[in-house]
Structure formats: structure tokens, C-alpha cells
Amino acid sequence: MNDSYLKNVIEAALLAAGRPVALAELRELFDEFARPDAVAVEAALGELAADYAGRGIVLAEVASGWRIQVRADVAQPVSRLWQERPAKYSRALLETLALIAYRQPITRGEIEDIRGVAVNPNIVRTVLERGWVRVIGHRDVPGRPELLATTREFLDYFGLKTLDDLPTLAQLKDVESLGVQLEFDRPGDPALAEASDVQEAPADDVAPGAAAGGAGD
């Protein structure tokens, strides 16, 4: 038997099985007259293990046999396949972010003045950590409050070239028409594609939510 055929069958079988496969079972995959002996199978397994060096997978022997598993150093990104997107950002965070974008450079106090409520420090920390906002200086008033401004990452995230691409306040007045003028949906985001499907439906997640959000924070 061709060595690479033996190796190919073993690799395919280990990957198809979805469970560990014992060496004896691997031998059984072949017709009797062409059945490799245990030594040949072990040699093929050794080659496979070597092939996987520097790759995202490893060959491992466990109690019930051999299996191919994800290498630990890529487990972290791969784990995201199973992660649920967390809840959305609060209305308060979005308002804070919007004010920083439109009125930058701006201090927390100024945001509070406009919003009429105190800004939760966690909100500012979140947008700073996200890399959307940064402190660009301090206003020269008592307490020297931090001046907040948006970053290039902020523009990138929202697909804007400059802040000028944000709609003007006058345009904002007619939010309904915004959907037409702006490409709101970022490509490749399934959640958003879904959302656009229901645009005709009463936008209860938008208008009443706005009122609720305003009252709720």
C-alpha cells in the first residue's frame, strides 16, 4: 500500500469520526488483504504528528485511542465560535459616545450638562478601552477635566472617512430618511442584515426605546 494513502485514510478517519479512534479500529478500515499492521499504522500516525508541527491542530493519544484536536495556542480565537454576543450597549453609552463624536473635544462635565444626568465612569472607561475614544488633553478649568475625542478606530469601526461623514443635526431630524442616505448596515454582519429585513415593521426598538432609554438612565 502507498504510504501516503495509508496516512490519508487515517487522517480522514480521525477527522471524520468525531471521537477518538483506537489503533485496531484504524486497521479495520482496510480490506483484509490490504490491512496494514500495527507498526505501519503507528508509523503513519507519527508522520501525521510531524505534519501538524506548526499547525493549528495536534495529534493526541487519549484513553480510547487517537484523536486530532485544536492546538492550545489557537484555542482562544477558535473558542469565539461558541461565544454569544453580549447584550447591546446601553442607551447612556451610545448617547455619551455620540456627544463625544459630535461635540469633541468635550469633558465629562459637559456631557453631563447636555444629558442632564451624571455619566457613569464605567461608560467612559468602556469607550476608552474599546479604543473609540481617547483623552486628548485637559480643559483649563478647576479640576482640569479630561478632554475626550474620538479616535481613528472609531471612524474605522463605523466606516467613516472623517467626522464630516456623520450626518448633520438637520439631517438627523429626519431619521427616517437617514436609512436611505446612509449605508447603515455594515457588510458581513448577520445581525444587522437581519435587522434591515424588518425595517418596515414598526421601529419599536428605535423610537419608544429612545424614550425608555432617556428615562431609564
Binding site: 477527522l15 492550545a72 469565539r80 455620540a98 486628548i136 478632554l147 475625542a149 467613516l160
Partner: protein
């Protein structure tokens, strides 16, 4: 021909000698190509997916074009099969009897003299049957084609590897521009209730430039006034920078310093000021208000 057509009585066979009478009905001999033992015949007949399938089988067996069915012959064979099904006490679906009636009816129509020759083509009683047979055959073949596609669990297996430890890497929420804009609209409309907050319709590039200038002045260094302007940005860019400077001055975020009369102007981040030159502030404010179309 004046008795109502009943599918159980294949009329063409009346001339033949029935070789058996089953339940009082004459049964002619089984189709000649059926060299199948009676036990297997049941399986064979059950294999048909309905009358269209059986008809197609009869047509194909004789290597005939569907478009050119010898209706009398096919009808005879079809009725033979139906009789066989009855004889073997197969559950005979109503569709088979309906088809038998349709065939008999087509046949009887074909016996009629062709009165209106110009309508003959449209009126060919076989046309509808042929259309249905063709349509059915297309999907019969499509079903075979689909069956031949390599499919999971039979021909194809998805490769999978074990992920032992699922690391926890929090995903961050997504935000759409629209969400943020709606939030902004909301906060602005609420703020409008507070008299002194007038948010003008302004060029955001001025805001962006303000941020940039402040950042450049971090660390308290002194920048030449001219250094802040980039000629390659053109008149618009220069205007934006100038307005940004005025706005920063008005907000008290930077100082403009001049060592001597006619000496070059420099800017720096604002230092704590004791006495504020009111005139300067007013002028800057007025200028920026004009350009920012504040109201």
C-alpha cells in the same frame, strides 16, 4: 361505447378471451414482459410512484417517445396492470383509477372523426397527458440527480477536531451608526429643553481639527501659528483649521502668544489664566459663530 366508461372494464380487451375471472371481472393474461414471480410482482408494482410513473414505465419499456404515445396500446397495458394490482389485492390508490378513466376518455375522443381539422392540433386529447408526463419525468430525473449528489453521511463527512479547552474571550457588543445617531438625536432633543444648549449645525471637521490641534499641543510645547496649517489641504482646509483655532481660543483651550509686535504668532495649550482678555474672547466667539452658522 354508450355505456359510461369504467376503469375496471378495459374495453379493448373485450374481444380477447379472459384467462381468468377474478371477483367477477375478466382478467386477461399478465403483461408479457413480466417474467417476475408473483411474490415479486407485488414489490414491483409497489415500486411505482403513481399512475404517471407507471405510464412512463410502459412508454419507456417500448422505447417510445412520450410525445408520440400510442394511446390505445398504452391504455390496454395500463389497465392490465391495474387489474393485476386488484388481483394481488394491492391497495389501489384512487389516482390510478382516475388515470384509467382519463386514458379511456382520451381513447374515446380519439375515435371520433376529426371534424374541425384546423383545431386538431390544439384539441389533441393526448396533449394534456403528454404535458403531465413530461413534467413528471423531468422531476423524476431531477430526483435521481439529487440522489446522485454526494451527500453528507453517505459520501461526505465533515472533518472535525476536538477543542479541549474553550478559552473565554469576551466578545464586544456591536453598535451601528444608526443606533448612535438615534441616541444623539434623542439626547439633543432632550437637551433642547435646557435653554442655553444650542447645538449648532456645524462642520464636524472643525471639531476633528480641534481635537487634532489639542493633541499636538500636549506636553506644553509651543507651536508656530503657521505650522498648524497645511497648504496642501487647500483653502477649505486652512479655513477649517482657522475656525478650529478660533473655537479653541473661545473655549479657552489654547493661548496665542506673540513675543513682540510683528513677531511670529505661536500657540500653546492654555495655561491657568488670571485675567482674561475679554475682547479677544468676544472677537473669537463672534467670528466662529459667523462661520459655524450658530443661531
Amino acid at each position: 361505447m354508450n355505456s359510461p366508461l369504467t376503469p375496471a372494464e378495459p374495453r379493448p380487451e373485450q374481444a380477447e378471451m379472459p384467462f381468468a375471472i377474478v371477483d367477477g371481472e375478466p382478467v386477461t393474461e399478465p403483461p408479457r414482459d413480466l417474467y417476475i414471480p408473483p411474490q415479486a410482482l407485488k414489490v414491483f408494482l409497489e415500486a411505482f410512484e403513481g399512475p404517471l410513473d407507471l405510464l412512463l414505465y410502459l412508454i419507456r419499456r417500448q422505447n417510445l417517445d412520450v410525445l408520440d404515445i400510442p394511446i390505445a396500446e398504452i391504455t390496454r397495458q395500463y389497465l392490465n396492470y391495474i387489474d393485476l394490482m386488484r388481483e394481488l389485492e394491492l391497495e389501489l390508490a384512487g389516482e390510478y383509477l382516475l388515470m384509467a378513466a382519463m386514458l379511456a376518455e382520451i381513447k374515446s375522443r380519439m375515435l371520433l372523426p376529426r371534424a374541425q381539422s384546423e383545431q386538431a392540433e390544439e384539441d389533441d386529447p393526448r396533449a394534456e397527458l403528454v404535458r403531465r408526463l413530461q413534467e413528471y419525468e423531468r422531476f423524476k430525473r431531477a430526483a435521481e440527480d439529487i440522489d446522485h449528489l454526494p451527500r453528507l453521511e453517505r459520501d461526505v463527512w465533515v472533518a472535525q477536531a476536538e477543542l479541549i479547552e474553550r478559552a473565554v474571550a469576551p466578545l464586544l457588543p456591536d453598535v451601528t451608526l444608526k443606533e448612535m445617531l438615534l441616541a444623539f438625536q434623542d439626547v439633543i432633543s432632550r437637551a433642547a429643553m435646557f435653554a442655553h444648549h444650542h447645538v449648532q449645525r456645524e462642520r464636524l471637521s472643525v471639531r476633528q481639527r480641534m481635537s487634532e490641534i489639542i493633541e499636538r499641543l500636549q506636553g506644553g510645547e509651543l507651536l508656530g501659528f503657521a505650522q498648524l496649517f497645511r497648504v496642501e489641504e487647500g483653502r477649505m482646509g486652512v479655513t477649517v483649521t482657522f475656525v478650529a483655532l478660533l473655537e479653541l481660543l473661545r473655549e479657552g483651550l489654547l493661548d496665542i502668544v506673540q513675543a513682540d509686535t510683528y513677531a511670529p504668532l505661536h500657540v500653546r495649550a492654555a495655561t491657568p489664566r488670571s485675567d482674561q482678555p475679554a475682547a479677544n474672547d468676544d472677537a473669537a466667539g463672534a467670528a466662529s459663530d459667523d462661520i459655524l452658522e450658530s443661531r
